[in-house]
């Protein structure tokens, strides 16, 4: 008798294999879910970090150039409508409205002469290392030589040759008598620092959701004029498509003072007109918050695994930002900016 060898799975075998398959698929699903969550978390974190760095760099770079085009006279006035640091600054420790206005050539070219200047003074021709900021609408240049800063009269559009911008100047609004009799070449050798004009910058933070950095041009008297241009306009007004918020912003100034022989430095949130020349650094920081859902609903009520207080230059954790919704992603950004150019001017004044 022939035995039928065409044997199929038994019900037990099927049940075991189905059980194993379901178990494996369930664990893969968990893995897949975790991967999605990770991808989302990391993508939110990357965007928070990129945006935060971008805001921080824009603020820091504009402040770092404070005083580059300045002269001693700028520090000798107590009128807060003039000078390099203007108005009455208002710093803050996180939950305060903040305002700070200052002059900075940020946005103008900062470059140097590639060759000695040519021509017969005051009609000099400059061959300048080009920079992206060297556009056709630049109206005047600041040329920094050993004696001081020469300020050109209105200049025409530069011509471009290779990696150079070539500018011809008819004469200067500001020049230095100590150089009398010298040629263009003697006054402005290769390597001389060249910068563009100052702008009037205004930093404002309106607690808890608006951060702005704007700039204006200056007229011939040094007053801000013309349209207000925005470098940062960060406003959270709770619209459905808005993701990021800055709920905490710190701004402080490092004031250096000398009483008798005792020198001290302290971080302050404001300073008077008389104290302007004692400021040597600025520090700022903020918490950037992404309101995109980061975790699954059931995790929302989970106890936080670590502190959720975000602190900026602060010893007292009661004055930190507390993230109450673990569904959101927050990150701290902070930077100290040494005002090297401003400090050099201060040293000259104090000397």
């Amino acid at each position: 008798m022939k035995i039928e060898k065409n044997r199929a799975f038994t019900i037990i075998e099927l049940m075991v294999s189905i059980f194993l398959t379901i178990t494996v698929i369930a664990s893969f699903y968990k893995l897949y879910e975790a991967s999605l969550k990770t991808e989302r978390t990391s993508s939110i974190r990357v965007s928070v970090n990129l945006l935060g760095e971008q805001i921080m760099d824009t603020l820091a770079n504009s402040m770092r150039l404070i005083g580059l085009n300045g002269e001693i006279g700028d520090l000798q006035t107590s009128d807060t409508a003039f000078g390099i640091l203007r108005g009455t600054p208002r710093g803050g420790l996180g939950k305060d409205h903040v305002s700070f206005t200052y002059l900075s050539p940020y946005g103008s070219p900062v470059s140097k002469l590639q060759e000695d200047a040519s021509g017969t003074y005051p009609a000099c021709t400059f061959k300048i290392f080009n920079s992206a900021a060297f556009h056709a609408n630049i109206s005047k240049l600041y040329i920094h030589n050993q004696q001081g800063i020469y300020v050109t009269k209105q200049i025409g559009a530069p011509s471009y040759s290779g990696n150079n911008a070539i500018v011809t100047v008819e004469s200067f609004d500001k020049e230095w008598s100590a150089d009398d009799g010298k040629t263009c070449k003697q006054r402005f050798p290769a390597g001389t620092l060249v910068s563009g004009e100052d702008f009037y910058y205004a930093l404002t933070y309106t607690y808890p959701k608006s951060l702005k950095l704007t700039y204006k041009e200056l007229d011939s008297s040094g007053n801000p004029t013309g349209a207000e241009n925005e470098l940062i306009n960060f406003e959270y007004d709770n619209k459905a498509n808005q993701t990021f918020q800055i709920p905490f912003f710190v701004l402080e100034f490092l004031k250096e003072s000398i009483e008798g022989d005792v020198e001290s430095r302290t971080w302050v949130t404001t300073f008077s007109a008389e104290e302007r020349n004692d400021i040597v650094a600025v520090r700022f920081g903020f918490v950037l918050l992404s309101l995109k859902d980061r975790v699954t609903a059931k995790d929302v009520n989970a106890a936080p695994s670590m502190s959720n207080k975000y602190c900026i230059f602060n010893k007292n954790t009661n004055n930190c930002y507390e993230l109450t919704n673990p569904n959101y992603t927050a990150s701290v950004f902070q930077r100290v900016v040494y005002l090297a150019n401003f400090r050099m001017l201060e040293d000259q004044v104090k000397k």
């Binding site: 075991v16 294999s17 194993l20 398959t21 302290t266 520090r283 975000y310 902070q334 930077r335 040494y338």
Partner: protein
């Protein structure tokens, strides 16, 4: 005889075992990715800590900077960092240097001073004369002789080592480290 043969249970189990093993590899990769994200964020924060202190040191007056690094030639010698090994930034807690709001380490990644929590960032400083550092001869009274080299360092643990004090007990396997150098003079020229 008809020889149609299906998979046996053993075959199914072996294939599931192989598949699961390969997925375990993927899970390890996943865990590694999380560690990389954590390390990137930590490195960004550590850089901010280091650069902030560099700018704070740069913003000191020549006299205060001189006080901080010390003048090996002065008698008696001032409080000095020169020639010492790395010291925690708490050594700079001096109202004359940075005011009463100077924050010293350790910090947590949220920016708060935190000496007990996990993943602590320690910041340290070390100074030496520029001549010593570069093994060059600098005659007294020259500008070169007034230059100092300061290293600002930050130590922090890698993912998976939350309680490690990387300043006191540094190990390459468990810790990250970065150092930012700066050179400046203690005299006004």
């Amino acid at each position: 005889m008809n020889k149609i043969k299906a998979f046996t249970l053993i075959e199914v189990m072996i294939s599931i075992f192989i598949f699961t093993t390969s997925m375990l590899g993927y899970m390890a990769f996943h865990a590694h990715s999380m560690a990389v994200i954590f390390d990137n964020e930590s490195a960004q924060f550590a850089h901010a800590l280091a650069f902030n202190l560099v700018d704070e040191i740069n913003s000191m007056s020549f006299e205060s900077f001189g006080d901080m690094v010390g003048d090996p030639t002065s008698t008696p010698q001032k409080t000095a960092l020169v020639g010492t090994s790395s010291q925690l930034d708490s050594v700079m807690t001096n109202s004359k240097l940075f005011g009463d709001k100077f924050l010293y380490s350790p910090f947590n990644i949220l920016g708060a001073q935190d000496s007990t929590g996990s993943y602590r960032f320690y910041r340290a400083v070390r100074a030496d004369s520029y001549a010593n550092k570069t093994q060059t001869y600098a005659a007294q009274g020259t500008f070169l002789s007034t230059l100092y080299h300061v290293d600002v360092s930050v130590y922090w643990p890698k993912k998976g080592y939350p309680d490690k004090n990387c300043f006191a007990d540094y190990s390459e396997a468990a810790c990250n480290y970065l150092s930012i150098p700066l050179v400046r003079s203690n005299h006004k020229y």
